[in-house]
Symmetry: C2
Subunit: 347 residues, 2 copies
Amino acid sequence: MSQEARERAVLAAVRERRQQVNDAIDDDLPVAEPERLYEASRYILEAGGKRLRPAVLLLTAEALADTSDTPPYREFPDCIGGHVDVMSAAVSIEVIQSFTLIHDDIMDDDDLRRGSPAVHREYDTETAILAGDTLYSKAFEIMLETGAPPERGLRAMRTLAETCTHICEGQAMDIDFETRGDVVTDEYLEMVELKTAVLYAAAATLPGLLLSADEETVEALYNYGLRVGQAFQIQDDVLDLTVPSAELGKQRGSDLVEDKTTIITLHAAEHGVDVDGLLDAEDPADVTEAAVQAAVQALQDAGSIQYASDLAEDLVEEGKAHLEVLPENEARHRLEQIADYLIERGY
Amino acid sequence: MSQEARERAVLAAVRERRQQVNDAIDDDLPVAEPERLYEASRYILEAGGKRLRPAVLLLTAEALADTSDTPPYREFPDCIGGHVDVMSAAVSIEVIQSFTLIHDDIMDDDDLRRGSPAVHREYDTETAILAGDTLYSKAFEIMLETGAPPERGLRAMRTLAETCTHICEGQAMDIDFETRGDVVTDEYLEMVELKTAVLYAAAATLPGLLLSADEETVEALYNYGLRVGQAFQIQDDVLDLTVPSAELGKQRGSDLVEDKTTIITLHAAEHGVDVDGLLDAEDPADVTEAAVQAAVQALQDAGSIQYASDLAEDLVEEGKAHLEVLPENEARHRLEQIADYLIERGY
């Protein structure tokens, strides 16, 4: 299948599930009192998003079920004759993702998210902190609604809690890296694993836990999510340098301007590039396109962008290999394609 | 028993348990990597605090156990022959309390907490947001360590998640009240129930859930916590006006300066007092002691402070009455005394 055909297939698979996920979000996270709090909590969720993580979760459930018909997500057959609401788990994961975006935007002082004002700009910082905190506990409440037997329900809660702790640890590492000059590649990959990849890992693992798959399968699904999630973040780092600003929705090269440590800057520094000197404007708005182009050229000459792309590709291959525990079926094939798509996507 | 003797007994009971709670916090929330994040997360917990909520939780467990010896909290006998680690639940509740303090201090832009700099002052706002977020998920992780059978463990998780959502809703209402002129008493009491009382209710209920008490007992314990928690907050409002600044650890009358809605200002406004005009300085530091005294006198003349004290006393009596579901023993007696103490305390 060509890259283009694969992309179409992935986007179709994600789109088919997106509407159901959006409907489920409306059901599981209604606007309650106090209204302003819940409106702020739902603001990013309503601004769009591909719902990639819920799609991974639902497709994993489908792959495990191994039938040609897609069973209803709210009453999904488990591996031992029962039924589980896997959609609640999918919503819970998206709600956690949304909470982290709201708080991250405050911490990074970012004004825009998905083309709309960030929550702390549309509302205010107090409301944004509180909206994130509300989504946080709501995600746990929603995860309690899977109807899985208590033992599995508890494992799902543990996965959710540990995942959230890891995300906080990863974000703390990322902030810390901004003022450190001695970050090494392994630390960077650990940061990406904690900050970004564990949520993909949770999305892929939860159906295994909730539907009572065997431990080998659960572990393989977790590793699929981890590797694919790391690749996703590294591809984000590549795209920040290679996609025109208009398509990217933000200034190309913003990571360089903000002195963000990425796998690319780490490789470049190790290969003699003066990374701090590549772009030294205070404000992304002051950076000319020519200056960005020159910086990107320097990184390309050092082989750093290719290095990152190759690494992302290796991680995706490693991730896909873990899917071999699943029966061969269309859903598994889509999970493989999503992995490829994450590093082939243009933005 | 005189008020003084009762206060001594309560403080002794709380103190006896505080060291064990502090040791358990060290065990359950060790400083992990990234160190700075965990140090910031533990900062308020290490700054002190009476550990009132954990004391309520542990005493409720003891009252339910109804033995003259206190069983070890980490292996506490349940009502049907098993054992549960109730200390984990106590730590979890204190960790949640600490998370809310960190985020509240950011939202209220308060500089001091328990006589030390607030976390966002000692560290920075980014770290404080993240420290609160870390405590949030850690509280859920710690609650998973009670060793209770899965069904009870899940109910504890549900109580914790719903409690956190309520606290956010209450805080949102409190912020909303600052810019509204038409708040009524019932709304205020609902805000206090959500923002403050539900955590006391959770503390009192969790041993019932974890030790498998009957539903009538569980419900009564919840109502004990709710009423006592509301009384606690109303007493805080009274103390803000009646205790000298030096003892209070902050400017007396700060609620008036900050235009906070309290049960006292609501009563005063209903009785013809121009509450907004009582103290109209921009900065608490500009307010003279004489101005505060005059404002307090006006509220006293309107009967508003007495009204609040009477209401707190009624709530405490109502709360204590719910304890009748417990066997008569020393721990139950201490829970009654704690309720009295919360409205008799000087600060």
